[in-house]
Symmetry: C2
């Protein structure tokens, strides 16, 4: 079983409108409503790839109840979310039907109390020990993904602590966050981090992706998968460095593309695929997500088609600087 | 007791952002969440004016449950909403903190089945007979307000039917809607309609407000209160014609200002105030609502101050055309 952690879950609403006009009034044509937050998106893609997945993190209030009800309708995902007193946030994505471009509005997350954080740590430890919920099949955790921002009240070193506990249980960890939580997380030596070029530059002070990825390695990451937007992805590992891009330029909605990439890397890890195959899967899943009509979904046929045509190139390594 | 009917209720979310940028990503600074739909806003103002108010209409799904929970926390309002299988819509108002201007996104309403419409008619008849819920104190209905648009599935002649039933029970009716539901409603001879100038022009084909109000009277309305935006309000009755404007130009958020005007007219009606006093109250409440920091609220002190300074002028009547 793969475990994804989403400390800042959200109920994601997508509104389709003909065109968003600032200070105008709009009749929304179509509303979709989904459990969201990066780790929940990763879990959805993992489940679609056939991996049993358990999600933990926080959920509370009426929006939290709604999120859990919708999550219960999804196949292959076990809900191990921890209840909180505050209300789970909503996000609203307003998609222009003409261009497909989206305007994003994110509510602030609820404040997490020390007792709620302690409760999350307890659930996490149980899951790592394999004595979690019966629904999770009490199966051992093969890998952990730690995803997204930290809600107020959670210590900034939260991810470092979760990484150390996973490693103590012999479980590899993928970390997908940014800013100070990423900086602190690196020190706990995650197996893989997946920043984009901006996030990577933010913590390393270097805008050149290869140089920045090596700097992130020196700060503690075993491997670094840097997403480079339309340029695809750069993967720097102890065993080699590879870059891959989609076979053609992909137009569409990039929401959730990064989460699909994490799911690709994570599924490749637990399946023991060679690094270039993990990278190809991440790039193909990411591109298939951009192409899908609904944010964060992906079309399996598009994915298979792209996977066959992703070109992975190995970097000839210059001497490390 | 005053009864307000809101067939298209909504859970109203207000998001405050520094500035809305099309295709940008925004961290919402502050979220407020309220039971909405025009008749619920009217009820809130009536309750603040000290009038016991019962609300009916439709509510369903998780957003309907949330709306009813929030409504239960409000003082002076009795919930006689009829449950439906569909989900109550949300509206999202995005307010720019810099200018106070709002961008509005309205979800489509749920489809109402014939059985649900029949259930609403049953509840409405019970309330008119005074044998409604115990919470409503089984008190007689002094006046009815029919407010807002019709959700899909409700017959377009709905308001005409509700007006005839109220009149059969000897209860006066204020109608605040637009388009075909207003046109059909007029034929049932409502005691008062409150269109704005655009709505009035839409059904009468006349843009000059006084001429258009007289045309609406000929189509069935006993009296017409036409809201003219910053020009205030024109009131055409069988007893005379008056116009009143706020004492000064009012800047702010006009959301809910029309609903406050309905509450002013309705409370004046049940209190037996002379027409000019009803008009002054409607204009002062409306202006106080525009001035309030939260959409649809009003400040009592601002209201009292404005009320003392609203100027009502009687029109010398030209011969009816």
């Amino acid at each position: 079983m793969i475990l994804t952690v989403t400390l800042n879950t959200a109920l994601d609403l997508t509104y389709r409108v003909p065109r968003l006009d600032v200070h105008g009034s709009h009749q929304v044509r179509e509303v979709t409503e989904r459990p969201g937050g990066k780790g929940l998106n990763v879990a959805r893609v993992l489940a679609a790839l056939g991996h049993a997945t358990t999600v933990t993190g926080f959920a509370g209030g009426r929006t939290g109840a709604e999120l859990r009800a919708l999550l219960g309708e999804e196949q292959g995902i076990t809900d191990a979310l921890v209840p909180i007193g505050g209300s789970t946030r909503r996000t609203v994505g307003v998609v222009d039907e003409s261009s497909g471009d989206a305007t994003q509005l994110n509510e602030p997350g609820p404040h997490i109390t020390p007792a709620e954080w302690a409760s999350l740590l307890g659930t996490y430890a149980e899951l790592l020990r394999g004595d979690g919920t019966a629904e999770a099949g009490n199966s051992p955790v093969e890998a952990v993904a730690l995803c997204g921002s930290l809600p107020p009240g959670v210590p900034v070193g939260a991810y470092a602590q979760l990484i150390r506990e996973a490693h103590a249980a012999g479980v590899p960890v993928v970390l997908d966050t940014s800013g100070e939580p990423l900086r602190r997380g690196l020190a706990a030596r995650p197996d893989l981090v997946k920043p984009n070029a901006t996030e990577l530059a933010g913590i390393t002070g270097t805008t050149e992706p290869l140089r920045a990825a090596r700097a992130a390695q020196r700060r503690g990451a075993h491997s670094v998968a840097a997403s480079l937007g339309s340029q695809g992805m750069l993967l720097v590992t102890p065993d080699g460095t590879w870059q891959a891009g989609p076979p053609r330029s992909i137009a569409g909605n990039p929401t959730g593309a990064g989460d699909s990439a994490v799911a690709g890397l994570l599924s490749g890890l637990v399946e023991g695929l060679p690094w270039p195959d993990r990278l190809a899967r991440a790039v193909a899943l990411s591109a298939a997500t951009v192409r899908a009509p609904t944010a964060g979904e992906f079309d399996e046929e598009v994915h298979n088609d792209l996977l066959a045509r992703v070109k992975v190139e190995e970097h000839s390594e210059p001497a490390p600087d």
